[in-house]
């Protein structure tokens, strides 16, 4: 039966999560060079546009309609057939749930654009993006949330640590292997062109994340409040963790601080409905440290995944999935983790994370190679030199 309060909260949360996608765009765009700013924001908008249509046509159905072999949904909800204003046995309209889930599918693709920064061909991205959201995101969402095999196994993912963050983060790694480094990477300065833009992006992300995690309770209740609180706590702890870990490297960069906050936000995502605020402090702080180390590792390995979707979303999501298996407490979400002696949950979390990593990485690798070999994923040398804003969009960010 409809509960207007729950519906109000889920609709508001959906709006918040939609806003996160341009938030990702701004977050990333501030960190690229001035000649690729429009491109970087536009990629997020393209993700929003493409997935918004794909999801109502087939994506929602693949993820949430009746299960096929634990792997994917069928086409029962094709074109939102049968998805209506009523509530089924939920307290919110089916359409509201559908919209909330849509926003998750959108942002997952947007996060992935990190790996293509400053070198992707817009047409290649459109084709790749459609394939990827359909063949990587939709099945994974089904595994975990749509009644697929990971759900049956009992792997927990409150708001998308696995579905969204591991998925986009490890896919980013795969894409980088195919698309290659930016020309001049490691030789030339490729620093951020506009740090305030990145900080604004983080502000929108932090804000939107309350809907991301809080809304995942699908109700305006104590669980939502818990998810809300641990989200904020973990973000703050993540910032502190990153700052502490990078402290001896001199001054405290603002980008470090907010990267740590995002790491904390990512890590708490799967756990938000299963752990309390004090666990969130630990989860966030550890996330800040681990993701910082992952970034150093990425730099050492000379991977040009320089907006760090892998180091922050991938690794942070992985830690979050495991941490859920460690810190889950019955008092919050009814499940217990390792610290309460529940080894089974811990193992389920690891299986879920590893399976998601493997699936996302391999399929993404194949799709990226496929697109690259056919229509091409990367711009020409000269297009890259003049920048994607001019070459892909015919625009200059600033006059």
């Amino acid at each position: 039966m409809l509960d207007s309060g729950d519906t109000a909260w889920v609709l508001a949360s959906t709006a918040l999560v939609v806003l996160m996608t341009p938030g990702v765009g701004l977050f990333y765009a501030g960190m690229v060079r001035g000649k690729n700013v429009v491109s970087m924001i536009a990629l997020s908008f393209v993700a929003l546009v493409l997935v918004s249509v794909q999801w109502v046509l087939v994506g929602y159905s693949l993820a949430f309609s009746s299960d096929i072999a634990g792997f994917v949904g069928n086409l029962g909800f094709f074109g939102l057939n049968g998805v209506g204003m009523g509530c089924g046995d939920s307290t919110i309209p089916e359409l509201a749930f559908m919209a909330f889930q849509l926003a998750f599918a959108v942002i997952t693709l947007a996060i992935l654009t990190s790996a293509m920064a400053e070198r992707v061909k817009i047409s290649g991205f459109i084709v790749f993006g459609l394939l990827w959201t359909t063949l990587v995101y939709d099945p994974l969402a089904h595994w975990v949330w749509g009644g697929g095999w990971l759900a049956q196994l009992g792997a927990l993912d409150f708001a998308g640590g696995t579905v969204v963050h591991i998925c986009s983060g490890f896919s980013a790694l795969a894409v980088v292997l195919v698309i290659g480094k930016r020309r001049g990477f490691g030789e030339q300065q490729m620093g951020p062109h506009n740090i305030p833009m990145t900080l604004l992006g983080v502000a929108l992300l932090w804000f939107g994340w309350f809907g991301f995690n809080g809304g995942s309770a699908l109700a305006a209740n104590g669980l939502a409040a818990n998810a809300f609180v641990v989200t904020n706590t973990s973000a703050a702890a993540g910032a502190i963790g990153w700052m502490a870990a990078s402290w001896n490297h001199g001054q405290q960069s603002s980008l470090g601080m907010v990267s740590g906050a995002v790491a904390g936000l990512v890590a708490i995502t799967p756990a938000a409905g299963f752990v309390g605020p004090m666990s969130a402090l630990v989860i966030g702080a550890v996330a800040g440290v681990i993701c910082y180390k992952a970034m150093l590792f990425r730099i050492k390995k000379d991977f040009d995944e320089s907006l760090d979707a892998w180091a922050i979303h991938g690794v942070g999501g992985l830690w979050g999935a495991i941490a859920t298996g460690i810190f889950a407490t019955a008092a919050v979400g009814g499940y217990t983790g390792l610290i309460y002696g529940n080894v089974g949950q811990f193992i389920a979390q690891i299986i879920g994370a590893v399976a998601a990593i493997a699936y996302a990485f391999v399929i993404t690798l194949i799709l990226a190679k496929l697109v690259d070999a056919t229509i091409g994923l990367r711009v020409t040398e000269e297009e890259e030199y003049v920048g994607l804003d001019i070459s892909q969009h015919g625009e200059e960010a600033y006059a």
């Binding site: 000649k35 030339q188 000269e382 297009e383």
Partner: protein
Amino acid sequence: MKKIEAIIRPEMLDRVKKVLEEKGCVAMTITEAMGRGEQKGITLQFRGRSVDIDTLPKIKIEMVVMDEIADAVINAITGAARTGKFGDGKIFVLPVEEAIRVRTGERSRDYP
């Protein structure tokens, strides 16, 4: 005393600065500019259409140096800024009659 105006690719600035430092030439003034050479920028191909990228970002380095070291500076810049492709830039040498150090008020005809 000469003024050396070097117009180079922005991404070469760090290298150029480093090479000059090694030669002990650190004093310089740097400005952002847009420019094009005889090639009229770059031409990109889009589905059969060709699009001219009119002007491209450049960095202008200005250094006032004693006559004796002008050549060394020019060679250093040329060496460090070269990729061998169109757009590498130009260096111009202009005469300077006098230089004044604001801090001290010293004036000189063959500083700096």
